[in-house]
């Protein structure tokens, strides 16, 4: 019984972390049709910048927001200078974002060295929480709560604000949006900022669990891809459900079928793509 409870909690906590990782990826992927392969790099950069800010004794949540904003700003610059000219050119976007991820990885190695850089969780959230006789890390529960709050906030932003309405309009029909006076380019900058901001923020919030180390980007990017494929491209509920699904598959899968640990996430991805290529919540991809 204890096994099922604790692995369920593990799955949910990991799902929360994965949502923070993949929400921004899904947003950019779904709304702008850019497969941003630099997303893992942006996540890692967020973690490193967060660690440095924490070293300057900034409070944790402030460090997370500042790091997110800095990474978001970088995202806007990259979108405006490099990616906008590639609109519609999938291969070009893949190549450019992959190039960016190479550069981010190499410059992080240069700036922060190769040793892992730890990020301390906020003091109050460090001690384990005792539930029915066993311990569970308090911070992981906090991450779960934060992820749910972020999901709610994003949903409000997209569904209940003018900006959200414009984003949805711009995505559904670019020409139509332009004709009613929406400046699509500015809108796409906003989307990219939001996506990159979420990546950087996720890097800091995931930091106390993952820490920052070379290769974090390459470890995280496939996870974001799996989440988005399972949940469906460009769908916020899809990203949320996909995240928890991946959390469950990973935690129970590696525990019950340890021999498949290396492929545990990709087999379900193959199955989903074969059975329902649009993912659980996605609309048809062109």
């Amino acid at each position: 019984m204890q096994f099922w409870i604790i692995q369920t909690l593990n799955s949910l906590a990991m799902g929360g972390l994965l949502f923070l990782l993949s929400a921004g990826f899904s947003l950019i992927f779904g709304l702008m049709r850019i497969p941003n392969l630099a997303h893992g790099g942006l996540f890692m950069l967020g973690a490193y910048v967060g660690a440095t800010l924490l070293g300057q004794s900034l409070p944790f949540w402030l460090a997370a927001i500042v790091a997110g904003a800095l990474v978001g700003a970088l995202g806007v610059i990259l979108e405006g200078t490099l990616l906008r000219r590639m609109a519609g050119n999938e291969q070009g976007q893949v190549l450019i974002t992959l190039g960016i991820s190479f550069i981010i990885a190499d410059l992080c190695l240069l700036s922060w060295g190769g040793d892992p850089v730890p990020l301390a969780a906020p003091r109050g959230l460090r001690p384990p929480v005792f539930l029915a006789g066993f311990a569970f890390p308090g911070y992981r529960l906090a991450v779960l709560g934060f992820a749910l709050a972020a999901a709610l906030g994003l949903w409000m932003l997209l569904e209940r604000t003018r900006l959200g309405a414009m984003i949805r309009a711009g995505v559904d029909d670019r020409e139509m949006a332009r004709s009613v006076g929406i400046r699509v380019s500015r809108l796409f900058s906003a989307v990219f900022f939001l996506g990159a901001f979420l990546a950087g923020l996720g890097g800091v919030i995931g930091g106390p669990i993952l820490s920052a180390y070379p290769g974090l980007d390459a470890d995280m990017l496939p996870l974001a891809l799996v989440v988005v494929i399972l949940g469906g491209v460009g769908s916020l509920p899809g990203a949320l459900v996909g995240s928890f699904l991946v959390g469950i598959i990973y935690n129970f899968g590696t525990a019950l079928f340890p021999d498949f640990a290396y492929v545990i996430l990709f087999l379900p991805m193959v199955v989903m793509l074969v059975v329902k290529p649009t993912g659980l919540f996605g609309r048809a991809m062109r």
Binding site: E90, V94, G99, I103, L273, P277
Partner: protein, 313 residues
Amino acid sequence: MTRFASMRGWALTLIALAMLPFILPSDYYLGIATHALVIAVLALSLDILIGQGGMSSLGHAAYLGVSAYAVAWTTRNAGWPAYAAIPFALALGTLTACVFGVLALRARGLGFLMITLALGQVMWGAAYRWVDLTGGDNGIRMQARPVLLGFDLNNATNFYIIVCAVLLTTLIAIYKLDHSALGACLRGTRDQPRRMRMLGHDVWKIRFVGFVSAGFWGAVAGVLYAYDYLYVGPSALSLPQSAEALLMVVLGGAGTLAGPVAGAIVITVIKTVVSSYVDRWYTLLGLTFIIVVSVMPKGLVPGIRSWMKGNRA
């Protein structure tokens, strides 16, 4: 560019390639040229998918890996001679492509990219984890290259010549494919799938045949890879290897014969030669992608061609 000029370009390139062993100062440089041309075969095979079929794959190293493992395993553990190991490897690589094709061709565009990535990762995971068969991360070593038809391939020049010959065969085969009915159909399914369907073509079957032929030539690259490095490990079918092949195609220019070869040469030179002089060559590699795509969105070869045309005018 006229057909004649293009033929002349190819002839000059081939002569230059054939002269390399006599120009290069040591076997080391010949070795690098060999590595570049081996991986050029992989890039060319991937371009059948991208250039003709409009399908970008991120799992293409799987065929190279499966076939390289097959050569290494049968040679090392079963003692097979090369003339048995090679056809077996090609068959196994092609079979892998058949399975992948059945699964992947249900999707298009980004979905296709993702499913090939996932399939490639599954193969990588299997190579890493199935220690009894693959040696895990330690991989499989081979002692020596074979002697084929009296040709001792352990001699660097001999091996280089074989690689050149295979590359030439690949080029001719892909050229023929381009100009065959199948090639036309493949481009048709890329540009106007609905129309092709209405004309009575089985779009899925056309794509499948294209997909499997790409897999076959990928397996050819795998045989060369195994004999080139005499070592096969999981990195041979890893995501970075697949991504690199994709980069070579897009960098050089998809849908051209010279493009993937040029892309393979540029990336190999950065990885092996430039990296000896530039510490941050990884950044340089990233910059190269960005610059080439920004300045020449169609790739190096078409970019240079149109630039030369512009200059001439």
